[in-house]
């Protein structure tokens, strides 16, 4: 599919490839952006280009340029997702 930046508020997807150098990718993973993790876009922050994402029990705001380098794929059907969640 597309990148995290394309996710509209209220929708959910699964984290895919992180198109960053090693250092930045590690930090994103430490914050929960681990391939396979389910992530939802909650809302856009007013007056800017931050969006708030909910993932792995926390809320994180990212600028769109960062979000656009996090690939996502559509969420699989509910049953499958639960099985591979953890």
């Amino acid at each position: 599919m597309e990148s995290l930046a394309d996710l509209s508020p209220g929708t959910t997807a699964v984290v895919g490839e992180l198109r960053f150098d090693e250092v930045d990718a590690v930090r994103l993973m430490e914050l929960g952006f681990i391939p396979g993790m389910s992530v939802s876009c909650q809302r856009r922050v007013p007056m800017g280009d931050l969006s708030v994402y909910q993932l792995d029990g926390t809320q994180i705001a990212l600028r769109s340029e960062t979000a656009s380098r996090i690939r996502v794929r559509p969420e699989p059907a509910a049953g499958v997702e639960n099985a591979k969640r953890d």
């Binding site: 681990i34 809302r43 856009r44 007013p46 007056m47 800017g48 931050l50 990212l62 600028r63 340029e65």
Partner: protein, 623 residues
């Protein structure tokens, strides 16, 4: 009995006889400092957003059974790969590579139990340091209030380390912590942990541990969702932001008035008693004019400062500040800074010194320097007494927006905005020239909303009062006494001189040509010199000078100022204070954080030139 501490694998021990140290570590904003404060009785700063603690802090803990231990509160870490200065400090201490601190004998890993499946990932990483570790699942109160629960014993079995559920806020579960610190808590069987440096694998393991310990995450907070909907609403969000700012500034004037009157009459009454009690002597003059007049005229502003800190406290403890930072990201981005710089800049409204230290959380070195450079331009609370005095003397109070916003609050707001604008413009210049860098990904964690506690708010106010009064009792008292002596010599025919003929007067008159272009007289000139020590000193200095000058019934400082300064020169003076770096503590901290004199000297010169030019322009325009 096997002891958690003694069971440690042999490690290079700190030198003989040194006290045992125990490090408190964990992810950001999980309550490490709250936990540390609970045990040591100290008041480390606590607030509801990540990156508050940026330095290690040591506190002694007396144990009921056993020798005391030194607890070390560390900055938060999200993994073993530090990116910013504060994270590096924490990792260095845990690893034992910090020069100043030997490797601690044990560690307490604090985790947020409301998000356990993600946070447990840090367990193998911390256990990998090879020191006995207690895992404390904090926020137990919040977890159970929202219908979650966890079996700490089951977690312990799977991680091979002792685990307790605690609430650092309420103090529950701390008895087991004490046992661990005394070394009498039996650790469970060690188990095999996932290999490090594979975050997805660690995370899968953590999820498995949580599941097998029948961890029920708490219900998502409905209130949090509602608050975010309002605070981050496209229209309401920015309006609320604005309303909050206006409310704070208006309260500084309206709420503080009765309190200030009370302080004022207290100072007046005690001065009256002193006047009656003391025989006429030089000492009496020093006490009444120097100390009471000088220090008293600064202390009177304590209520306004406390109101500012009360609001900052509520905003920080509730979690709103992180949302404000998100909204402000745009302006940070426009000037080329990371949004992360916003939080240090915000804390600069209290005081630039902690703000400059908080810039450690800014990962990019060039961004960090830019943040340090502009922090003293944002309006710190030491400017408040100066502004409040001049505004009260020169700006008549009139309603602007009905009862919501008056002229005085509006002028104050304008001064704050001016400082912020100067900070932004300076950042932009720096970031597009000597401190240019490629933008790094910006990730802002939004903490859960929490009720500010009375305990934490009152500690903030108490600590702030102590700092303020200590400054009044040291820096301000000292400059006032020196000034009083300079203003009392030379005696002619056994009589003290008129202040204009005194030594202080002649110094002031020598520099008068320098301040004249801003419409200021030599008395204010003396104040500008003394305020190099700290900004609010000028208020004390003016209090002393005008107090000594007036005979008997000293007119209020405000009236004296009104009779000698024009409206334009008052504006020029305020603008000078908005921009100038009159604070030796700030100079010292910048030197320490940047490791040399280059940056503080550049900063001091730049701000002085800016202040003088802008003050001159203001006097031309308004004078």
């Amino acid at each position: 009995m096997p002891s958690a501490i003694e069971a440690a694998p042999a490690k290079p021990q700190p030198e003989q006889g040194a006290r045992r140290t125990v490090a408190i570590c964990g992810p950001p904003n999980v309550g490490k400092s709250t936990f540390f404060n609970r045990l040591t009785g100290l008041h480390q700063k606590v607030a509801n957003y990540p990156g508050i603690t940026v330095e290690k802090r040591i506190g002694r803990l007396e144990l009921p059974n056993g020798p005391p231990v030194d607890l070390i509160d560390l900055p938060g870490i999200v993994g073993l790969h530090p990116r910013s200065e504060d994270e590096r400090i924490a990792i260095d201490v845990l690893r034992g590579t910090s020069r100043a601190t030997p490797q601690p004998a044990a560690a307490v890993l604090i985790l947020d139990s409301t998000n356990l499946q993600a946070q447990l990932r840090l367990v193998p990483e911390i256990l990998g340091f090879g020191i006995p570790t207690l895992v404390a699942l904090n926020m137990a109160d919040d977890l159970s209030a929202r219908g979650g629960n966890v079996d700490a014993q089951a977690v312990a079995k799977q991680v091979g380390a002792p685990v307790v559920a605690v609430s650092a806020r309420l103090g529950t579960g701390m008895d087991k912590v004490t046992k661990f610190l005394e070394g009498t808590l039996a650790p469970p069987q060690p188990v095999e942990l996932p290999v490090l440096n594979n975050i997805p694998a660690e995370r899968r393991w953590a999820g498995g541990v949580a599941r097998r310990a029948s961890y029920h995450p708490p219900e998502p907070s409905l209130w949090g969702r509602r608050l975010d909907r309002a605070f981050l609403h496209p229209v309401a969000g920015p309006l609320i932001f604005l309303a909050v700012v206006v409310l704070v500034f208006q309260s500084i004037f309206t709420l503080a008035v009765p309190l200030m009157d009370a302080v004022d009459s207290l100072i007046g009454t005690t001065a009256g008693w002193l006047g009656i009690l003391l025989p006429d002597s030089m000492l009496k003059g020093l006490l009444l004019d120097g100390v009471w007049g000088g220090v008293g005229s600064v202390v009177i502003f304590l209520p306004q400062i406390l109101i500012l800190f009360l609001f900052i406290g509520i905003l920080e403890d509730s979690g709103y500040l992180a949302r404000a930072a998100a909204i402000a990201d745009r302006s940070m981005r426009a000037v080329g800074l990371e949004g992360r710089s916003f939080i240090p800049l915000l804390s600069s409204y209290a005081c630039a010194v902690p703000a400059i230290m908080a810039a450690r959380t800014v990962e990019n070195q060039r961004d960090r320097l830019a943040t340090i450079f502009i922090a003293p331009l944002t309006t710190c609370s030491a400017r408040l007494p100066v502004y409040a005095l001049l505004i009260a003397a020169f700006i008549p109070e009139q309603p602007l927006l009905g009862p919501i916003l008056g002229t005085r609050a509006a002028v104050l707001l304008g001064l704050y905005a001016l400082g912020f604008a100067a900070a932004c413009a300076t950042a932009w210049v720096l970031k597009s020239t000597i401190l240019k860098s490629k933008p790094a990904p910006f990730m802002l964690q939004l903490p859960a909303y929490r009720w500010p506690t009375l305990r934490s708010l009152s500690y903030r106010l108490l600590d702030r009062s102590k700092i303020f009064l200590r400054r009044a009792g040291t820096v301000i008292l000292l400059t006032t006494i020196v000034l009083w002596f300079l203003a009392s010599v030379p005696y002619t025919d056994g009589e003290p001189p008129a202040i204009g003929d005194s030594l202080a007067g002649s110094i002031g008159k020598t520099i008068e040509p320098l301040v004249e272009p801003l419409g200021l007289n030599w008395k204010v000139g003396i104040g500008l010199i003394t305020s190099l020590a700290a900004r609010e000193v000028i208020v004390g200095t003016l209090g002393t000078i005008y107090g000594m000058e007036a005979d008997e019934d000293s007119p209020a400082l405000q009236d004296a100022l009104r009779s000698e300064l024009s409206f334009g020169s008052a504006i020029a003076l305020m603008i000078f204070f908005a921009f100038a770096m009159q604070c030796m503590s700030t100079v010292a901290i910048v030197r320490r954080e940047t490791g040399g004199w280059k940056w503080p000297i550049a900063q001091f010169t730049y701000m002085l030139v800016l202040a003088y030019t802008a003050g001159f322009a203001a006097f031309r325009i308004f004078g």
